[in-house]
Symmetry: D2
Subunit: 268 residues, 4 copies
């Protein structure tokens, strides 16, 4: 079945012959393996160009910042899945990645769209007005302001602060960081709540200042968490807790439906 | 429901307070963000220690080597999935990762187990005998020899050759590389086929020589391909081919079942 | 880490003792196994009550209607994934389900929200005005009208027609079917295109007329396609085409990036 | 890239024209929708034939038996995933399905292979010897005996007992049920443990006695659990517990790694 127009029929990422693998115009074996870092390669795959040192520094910093934060829901989903299906590590990683969604890790991408919108608007109006307008539209649509507030880090999110320092040291322009700060400044007035910028606003702020493509922002926490998921699944092989997690979960949630006549629940 | 003994109830990867996030004993913000590369961080997450320069070089090389090889099945699955469900980039990445299995990318892990087995056996018998015994057991169990042969690269796999060069330049020991070469040397005699080592044998050879944990080998192509999948999904947003791929697939496979009386297929 | 308020801590679906498994208040072994159909059980799991014969008839009809439509993208993703990772059938099914998204099969749920909206509005204004207003809001927000048009079935979608017949035979009320017909009638005038109702509008129309919960509509194509995916993966074991599909896909999409000096692509 | 021989290039499951959708040789709209149950359709998709009443009864019974068992790991993974990524119900279902693995629900398929093996061997030796030989081979390979024992149901698994009753009432032959009983009888002697047959042995026993294809056994719990997952995700929309589950899990698992100087964990 043919779906859509299908006018475009090419990819610009890789081609190969029996002897040469080309990635983004470069000979993989002669120009990349052993010569560029994995972070360089990720930037190259996305953009077609190797990063500058400043771009590499900022991308490394964001990937390191977001990779690991303990037994978050996606890690628990992955470890339970691996305990149940140890034949397929890829399935457990996939289960963990599926939890990188709009509520948990996807906020980075949504915050990036907001910050890019503020920067675009600020070409014609003062930054404060641009931020107020962009936030106002989200509020009017009853949508959350992505990238502000955190369940654990009630004050400053230390990862956000550190990422801004790294971007400043790298000498990047700061249009998107300024937009992120302005949104934070306006939030008490616009929403009645003093929410602090979290890592999900800081990541797009520093990456967009580095020229990272906005459409790939959602991939940054996904790639970072994949590294962490592999580490947790290695630990799960050696010191399993997957069924400890699910047992604790099942103990924490009761049953509030009806039961048949004569049924007696046991202590488990 | 309680499954298993659940004696162990701890993880050693991360903890945090309101102010500090600890990853493998280090303060994430003060000691890691902006100071280590993502590849360093992956090694740290897996092993509890930052890599040496030689270890980092080899890990980067393997991740770069295996990240991208064009429109392989897992990339096609991801791009079709994204075309059908653009609201969930994480789902399209997950669909791609699910294709990192025993036949396609999982061979790295299987080959690693083989090479580690050969090295262990070679403590007490000559390497040739160790390799012959390990391969012989796979043959007896009618299991394939993982890491040798490739549908496209019939001669030398250029990525394998390059990874060996990098490992040598890094000054690593070469026990597992020697085992990989010995298996290749013996294959014509043991199997009747002159299969050449591919990237899936070279990756574990150089990583195990660097001290990488064998239980995490399967995670290397998964992490590497995640970077590539994000790049393909960014391209899919800008220049979509997901439904081109599925249309071509459906044209290549006919229908050989029965049809109801009077049914006439149309050209599509 | 504690996320959200967590005030509610119970589920009403199932509980058990060592002797009795309770599902929605019923003794699984004494009251359900061998006595109700899987379709009955699905309705019970969702709503807490067994369906009436009319409800069962309509739910069966929708599941049968949407289960299978040949080598659609999600089936191709699943078959390629299984070819690459035959150790994990669950992973191949998951890859297929991930393609039940907003563009392909999720339209059922979106169309259900539209039809429910039209019915709600029609409590206070004539149906024509209710439908025009609901469609108008989608148009104003530049969102597609879900459930109308089909790449293959340009005229009437025969599955939609048949589902409406079944619902009429079942003696259900027809508020949502009337809403679906009214939207179709208005589309030429409101959009300039005469798009015909497809199966994704017919499914929610008949299910909502039967009292099916709107929040579970997205699960109907997912459950139905799971049955089909299992059948395709059984066929893939016996007569594999997974790599035929991916080969055809890779042949249909060229490379339009740059190449290194001297690189020559081969015929593949 | 061309992988494998690709000699076969057809599927026998479905084809269509603009007017007619053919599924397994039948006109979907005229012969199936509104006339067969979803369970009938699943059997048809798998085998090419509609089931007999006895076959339908047994397949319905197994799907009902295995669909739901409370907050099992795969349900928890799905509910956490949905809480984190509510934009993609399909992703949460997929995360749950990924936990249908060799340890948890995949035992049905492994047990089916064992029972089929026992039946095959019993063509030439007494059933007791056939069962002893098949179990002996698993023991020799240090593999578990799939389908016996349960963490909660220490005595008889009531679902297993009930499924056998249903199969007997349906009038099916009982070769595979006899094999399952014989394995149970021999286990104390062969393994030193009196493990009772659980639902994962009963499901393949009754389905294989009904003529169900052994290669599709793994799909039965997957399809059944998909129904349950959709119900849990509907409940998660209305009465969320996803983050309650993950909070409880994180409280149950401590941190046993090192911490930086001066770090103090807080009560969370």
């Amino acid at each position: 079945m043919k779906i859509g127009r299908q006018a475009h029929r090419a990819s610009a990422i890789s081609t190969s012959s029996a002897d040469v693998i080309v990635v983004r115009g470069k000979d993989l074996c002669k120009e990349l393996i052993g010569q560029v870092s994995f972070t360089d390669h990720f930037w190259l795959l996305l953009t077609g160009n190797l990063p500058t040192p400043a771009q590499r520094l900022v991308l490394d910093a964001t990937l390191v910042a977001i990779a690991e934060h303990g037994l978050v829901p996606s890690v628990q989903a992955a470890r339970m899945t691996y305990a149940a299906a140890p034949e397929a590590l890829q399935g457990a990683v996939a289960a963990g990645i599926l939890g990188c969604g709009s509520v948990i890790l996807g906020a980075s991408a949504d915050a990036g769209v907001l910050l890019a919108d503020v920067v675009t608007r600020s070409a014609t109006v003062p930054l404060r007005d641009a931020a107020a307008a962009a936030v106002g539209e989200l509020r009017a649509a009853k949508r959350p302001i992505p990238g502000y507030g955190h369940p654990l880090h009630k004050g400053e999110d230390p990862r956000a602060t550190r990422l801004f320092e790294v971007a400043t040291q790298a000498g990047l322009g700061d249009q998107h960081r300024a937009a992120a700060r302005m949104v934070q400044e306006l939030l008490p007035e616009l929403t009645g709540k003093a929410l602090v910028m979290n890592v999900s606003a800081a990541i797009p702020a520093v990456l967009l200042d580095a020229g990272f493509p906005v459409g790939a922002l959602k991939g940054v926490p996904i790639l970072a968490r994949t590294a962490s998921l592999v580490a947790h699944l290695l630990e799960e092989q050696l010191k399993p807790v997957g069924f400890v997690l699910s047992h604790a979960g099942s103990q924490a949630v009761g049953y509030d439906g009806v039961v048949p006549p004569g049924f007696t629940a046991e202590k488990s």
